[in-house]
């Protein structure tokens, strides 16, 4: 690239800036592809629903239909054994909401008239708080829930106690 209207240093500043940005971009997309940590994409095979529930679809595999409405999540408590892979589908009955799991790369806009999707594996036991992160009216600040990821033995005990 020869630009005779700028000097050598300016041309270098340009090349270095461009190079820096390209390196960053390749790194970000590279990690997204290699590690499989992607952003939500366009979902066309799942219609909006009006009932939230957790459905087991295989060993340690769950489908979480998560429904948001003013001002609660359904379900707002999810109990799963450690190592579970959860496919989350989410939509809203009324206004726009958000769904974000603390400490996990799950951050979904929950929008009426659309279904959003994420897949996530819970490898460590613990309580994962999830919150609504889009303003949805005066109850917004109390809209949250929890995903309890239990060690195998505790999960079996919990299942018996709850007659499942």
């Amino acid at each position: 690239m020869k630009w005779d209207f700028i000097d050598e240093y300016e041309a270098w500043a340009f090349k270095i800036s461009l190079g820096l940005v390209l390196v960053f971009f390749v790194a970000v997309i590279g990690i997204a592809v290699l590690k499989g940590i992607d952003v939500p994409t366009c979902v066309t095979d799942f219609k909006p629903f009006d009932k939230g529930e957790l459905v087991q679809i295989g060993p340690r595999e769950y489908q979480l239909k998560l429904l948001a409405r003013m001002w609660s999540f359904q379900p707002n408590e999810v109990v799963i054994p450690v190592g579970s892979k959860v496919t989350i589908y989410t939509t809203s009955l009324d206004v726009q909401h958000g769904f974000e799991i603390e400490g996990k790369a799950v951050n979904l806009m929950t929008i009426p008239g659309a279904v959003n999707k994420a897949e996530i594996v819970f490898n460590r036991p613990g309580e994962y708080r999830f919150v609504c992160n889009e303003f949805c009216g005066i109850g917004h600040q109390s809209m949250y829930g929890v995903i309890k990821v239990l060690p195998e033995a505790e999960y079996e005990k919990w299942k018996q106690e709850h007659g499942m």
Binding site: V39, Q96, R129, N133
Partner: protein, 554 residues
Amino acid sequence: MKIEKYLRNITFWHMMIGILSLATGVTFGLFQVLARAGIYKYGSFTYGTKIYYQGLTLHGVLNAIVFTTFFIVGFLYIVTEVSLKRKLNRGLVHLSFWTMVVGTLLAAWAILTNKATVLYTFYPPLQAHPAFYIGATLLIVGSWIAILNTVITHLKWRNENPGKLTPPPMVAVHATYAVWFLATIGVAVEVLFFLIPWSLGLVKSINPELARTLFWWFGHPLVYFWLLPAYLSWYFLLPRIAGGKLYSEPMARVVFLMFILFSLPVGTHHQFSDPGISSTWKAVQAFLTFMVAVPSLLTAFNLAASLEYAGRVRGGNGLFGWIKKLPWGDYRFAGMIGPMIVFIFGGISGIVNASYNVNQVVHNTSWIPGHFHLTVGTASAMTFLTLSYILMEKLFGKRPWSKKLATWHAYLWVVGVLIFSWGMMQLGRAGIPRRTHLGLSPYMNLEEKILMGISAVGGVLMFTSFLIYFINFLATVFKKPDVANVEEVDLEFTDAYHRENENLPRYLDNFTIWIAIAVFLLIVTYGPIFYDVFRSTYAVPNAFSPFNPLNLIK
């Protein structure tokens, strides 16, 4: 350039309406940090929460839309007349001003009566009073009239000055307005074709995802509308204030033209978490968002070189010795170098936001307000406040009532905003949402409450700094002029170390080419995005008040 009295006065009122809006917005900002930290309660639970979100709507709309638009339009009028040495159309200046005023009053009425507590993104199906949407439209239309006026003036100047290059500050004006015009088309379509008919009850359904996509077509380029006038000041005023020259004029021009190209097809990086848009096109817009970082990196180079030059002219030696020689005690320097330094952190946190999957960690968390108080909240807002002093001096011969206070307000703000944003960003990383009355949230743990308290300390410092500015500015407005009967206005644009010369390729002075490429990029990137939205999302028969979970549409 002799500037007519009417333009000086109306520029003053553009500035004043902006600053009074900002004062109102900032006051609510103080209550917000205190309420979030649980220090201040607004009375009863329901009343308190209503007023928290109403205040948040005011804070966003007044600071980010009303203050910026009025201030920028007024400031750019003066830059246009001074750099082209040619008069604007007086009738259009008045028409634009009053359209903007009527729009602002309508929207302000709706917000103040709590009929438009929908925050400044006004996402449907939360529904505001039609006056809010109509008011916002008029504010935008008013600014379009100002653009028309500027373009006409420039075309006339071209006819009278064949073969002459557009003066560099005018390139910045064009970049600002090109970005604003193309951006506002998105929000205008959203408001005129969807929100207004729906809020009037003429149609029952609305597609929230489509509305979001149109909003963010506007919502991100908007930030360059805020930023470019600040860049204009940093490029063309600051080097001279520092005692030097702009390092490279042609590079400045390239930077502003790059902003025309890459400011627009980037809005989807606010929608990485959205359904209805395929991840491929999210990645494409992520790439273009990275590209828009390039002109800012070039700016960092060019301005650092300009300041180094100034420092060396002032007798600074060694690798870093020149830094000490810069006029840190000059209120104009302090009021621009402060925002520039803060903007480094703003830019870096912005790269984080743009980083595709990394955005999943920060989307809609407190990280985001942490980020944009460093950018629009400091880089733009504080530069504008510094410009308000400069304009009072240049237009009315009134130097600041106290130059010392003007300097200290700048540094105090820098300290305040860095503390505030640090706290907010840590909270964001912990997963604490933004735009939330956290003082009443049941899910905050102790560590998060402490961080909230730290950011409240920053917020109090920011408010104190603004108060110092506000008192000082009002005292400046009401004092007797230091120079009587100002007619000639010289903004003292900087000279350049590398000037533009006849080597400059002519396509760098042809804005049509750059705007056409920008439109092409918009169509190519947004076409598939709208296709995705149409094939995977639906309109819903919903309309909700933020205070009631019952659908307003039966």
